[in-house]
């Protein structure tokens, strides 16, 4: 005899059992989990340092990044981009980034793109505060994009860089939504999640990233946080630097000189 109580009980147990992912059948050795943080054998932890005072918004970094990493040049997606912030004397603040090719051509207009076909021209005498902020992947110590991947297609290497396995990615888009910094996108050719990886093919060969090399003003620098003599490490440890969206607890590893509260 099926009673209502038993029926409901069995239904709940059944649904709970069905919702177990296949991964749950893999027995995870707790030692394996413990070993992760405590004994990270890597002697390298890549970090980035951006000096917003030096950035001129030329966009050479974006151009170099797109060509180096084979992100289609005319597409509006990009691994790195530059944002412009202007606060006018009436207290209003404006931010934009060129839409053309993901900003690969830099800022060659004083007009602001407000989206939806609207634009705004700010006169020189109205500007109170204005600057550029280059953005790229923060290679967070607690990357939320990695946590949400259901198939293990994105991960963090021991040297701190978050990579995407293109042959493993199913294109569900969770990571794109999970990133609070909006650095992820779909690759128009590979149809998988794509992001800045600090030019992993270059930094592992002793080269610098394409954007760092292309920047004529030294606004971008990359360094190894585990090397106390690295100039970038020295700067981060001894000077005042900020990170983006600290309150999210992602522990971002791209440090900024001259951040402002307008910058998100």
């Amino acid at each position: 005899m099926i009673t209502r109580r038993n029926f409901l009980k069995n239904t709940i147990t059944g649904v709970a059992a069905l919702s177990l992912p296949l991964a749950a059948f893999e027995l995870v050795d707790p030692k394996k989990l413990m070993a992760s943080e405590a004994a990270n054998p890597s002697k390298v932890r890549w970090v980035f340092l951006v000096d917003t005072y030096k950035c001129t918004g030329c966009g050479f970094c974006v151009k170099a990044c797109k060509l180096e990493n084979e992100v289609p040049y005319d597409s509006n997606v990009t691994r790195t981009w530059v944002e412009r912030y202007v606060t006018t004397k009436d207290g209003k603040s404006h931010a934009d980034t060129p839409a053309v090719g993901g900003g690969r051509d830099g800022f060659t207009h004083s007009t602001f793109d407000l989206g939806q076909g609207k634009s705004l021209d700010i006169k020189k005498e109205d500007i109170e505060k204005a600057f550029f902020v280059p953005k790229l992947c923060n290679q967070c110590e607690n990357p939320p994009c990695v946590q949400v991947c259901p198939v293990g297609a994105t991960y963090q290497t021991p040297d701190g860089v978050v990579l995407v396995d293109r042959s493993w990615c199913i294109g569900c888009g969770y990571c794109i939504m999970g990133c609070p910094y909006g650095v992820r996108f779909f690759h128009p050719v590979h149809h998988t999640a794509e992001k800045c990886n600090f030019c992993y093919h270059r930094i592992t060969k002793g080269l610098t990233t394409a954007c760092v090399q292309a920047c004529p003003f030294g606004a971008r620098q990359i360094g190894n946080l585990r090397d106390p003599n690295d100039p970038v490490t020295k700067y981060i440890m001894t000077e005042r630097v900020g990170v983006l969206k600290e309150e999210y607890g992602t522990k971002p590893q791209a440090f900024y000189i001259g951040l402002d509260r307008e910058v998100k």
Partner: protein, 162 residues
């Protein structure tokens, strides 16, 4: 237990066993929990090598120096000294060929006005390096010609005027 319960149960266990068996063969051996633990380090290890194998395109100014010494030294003496050769001449290597091995013998030089305006469009932003760079109004300053008609990008000062 009655057989009408047992039989579908056996089928169900069989299906689960089949899936687990298929998984054993389909999942690569290097897929699993690595250095950063289950939360951040659950991946296929071989992919790290895949990324390292990507071809390097931008080579840097030192790569150009040996063959193009004259152009290298001229720009290094000018205010444009920090601009990489490849910022205007394009990357030495592309997916289609390498400049050094002559599968890519000529690089396309970007001589467009937009290329110069990246820095030389005046934007008087006080706390940005941009405000310190001299600029021109592109609508008034010889609008229809390439900048390099008069200015030598390797010697941008007045002495380099053509």
């Amino acid at each position: 237990m009655k057989s009408h319960v047992l039989r579908p149960l056996i089928v169900f266990i069989g299906i689960v066993a089949l899936i687990l068996l298929a998984r054993l063969f389909l999942v690569p051996k290097d897929f699993g929990v690595h250095e950063r633990g289950y939360m951040y380090g659950w991946y296929r290890k071989g992919n790290v090598e895949d990324w390292k194998k990507i071809k390097v395109k931008y080579q840097g100014a030192e790569y150009c120096k040996d063959c193009h010494e004259k152009n290298y030294t001229s720009i290094k003496k000018s205010p444009h000294r920090n601009i990489q050769c490849e910022n205007c001449h394009g990357p030495a290597n592309t997916v289609n060929g390498d400049h050094y091995s002559e599968t890519l013998p000529r690089l396309a030089i970007d001589k467009s006005r937009a290329q110069c305006l990246r820095c030389h469009f005046p934007l008087p932003y006080p706390s940005s390096g941009r405000s310190k760079i001299k600029g021109i109004d592109p609508d008034k300053h010889n609008p229809d010609v390439e900048c390099s008609m008069c200015h030598n990008p390797h010697m941008p000062g007045l002495e380099g005027l053509r």
